[in-house]
């Protein structure tokens, strides 16, 4: 059959869930962060495909915003991770349990 909205959405959903898995499974903050980027991209894909098949551009505008915001977020996040690494010499989530219970 013809490739349609479903296929794109399926891809985006699977990408999204891959991101989720990454967040759960990996212990390295950077990699976790990459997985989060994957999830954002999945959302982007969904939006773009919707906008294509709904004949509306707003979705793409939204994607534009998302990309920008994501970039900013990444910048701040990475800076934060760097600062943390300077203190702790580690980017492992297990090493970040000074506050609990």
């Amino acid at each position: 059959m013809h490739v349609g909205l479903h296929h794109y959405l399926l891809v985006s959903i699977m990408l999204f869930c891959l991101g989720l898995l990454g967040v759960i499974l990996r212990r390295n903050l950077l990699v976790i962060y990459m997985s989060l980027e994957l999830m954002l991209n999945a959302a982007n894909l969904a939006l773009v495909s919707f906008s294509r098949f709904n004949n509306k551009l707003d979705g793409q505008v939204l994607v534009f915003f998302i990309i920008t915001v994501a970039a900013a977020e990444v910048a701040v996040g990475l800076a934060l991770i760097v600062a943390l690494y300077r203190k702790r010499q580690s980017a492992h989530v297990e090493d970040l349990t000074s506050m609990k219970l």
């Binding site: 909205l5 773009v48 800076a79 760097v82």
Partner: protein
């Protein structure tokens, strides 16, 4: 040449390309989060770049040319470079293989499984008989929309970028006197 055009018209080529890019994207995604050969963040980052690039491909297939460009520039370019810089900066070594907590893994997979299933189930309810897509994601229309309807979010994003800028400086500056 002739029949290639036919194929383009009938969309077979696009389909083929779709499957290629989709497969590529997902494969790279998998390799980002779980790479059997290396657990070094660098490889993850590289595969992420690939994933982004192939996503850009999908964007093209969806006629979102501008976004495809932005995707490549911002993500595959800026963002990933940033990642790599940081990785180099911190010279993160191979993530030593700690024992994965079985319970965590199972429970995690379970919950993700549930989420996937719900997503897919609900995807099935989407009505499929949409008119054939005609929309072109070209720069002019996008820009027009951006600067008429979406001026305010656009401005807010600018503030956001400023904040991010300040934040990054504050956080990564060697010493604040």
């Amino acid at each position: 040449m002739e029949d290639f055009n036919n194929m383009l018209a009938s969309g077979v080529v696009q389909d083929v390309f779709f499957y290629v890019f989709a497969a590529l994207t997902l494969l790279c995604g998998v390799l980002v989060i779980a790479n059997p050969f290396s657990r070094s963040p660098v490889t993850s980052a590289m595969f992420l770049v690939l994933a982004m690039a192939s996503l850009a491909g999908l964007f093209v297939l969806l006629h979102a040319f501008f976004l495809a460009a932005v995707q490549v520039l911002v993500y595959a370019g800026a963002v990933m470079v940033l990642f790599l810089f940081v990785i180099m900066l911190l010279d993160l070594k191979e993530e030593e293989r700690r024992r994965i907590k079985l319970f965590g893994l199972v429970a995690g997979l379970l919950s993700v499984g549930i989420i996937v299933s719900v997503f897919v189930k609900s995807l099935a309810t989407l009505n499929t008989d949409v008119p054939p897509p005609t929309l072109e994601g070209d720069t002019i229309s996008l820009g027009h929309l951006l600067f008429t309807n979406y001026t305010l979010p656009f401005e807010i994003v600018s503030v956001l970028l400023l904040v991010a800028l300040v934040g990054v400086i504050l956080l990564s500056k060697k010493k604040l006197e």
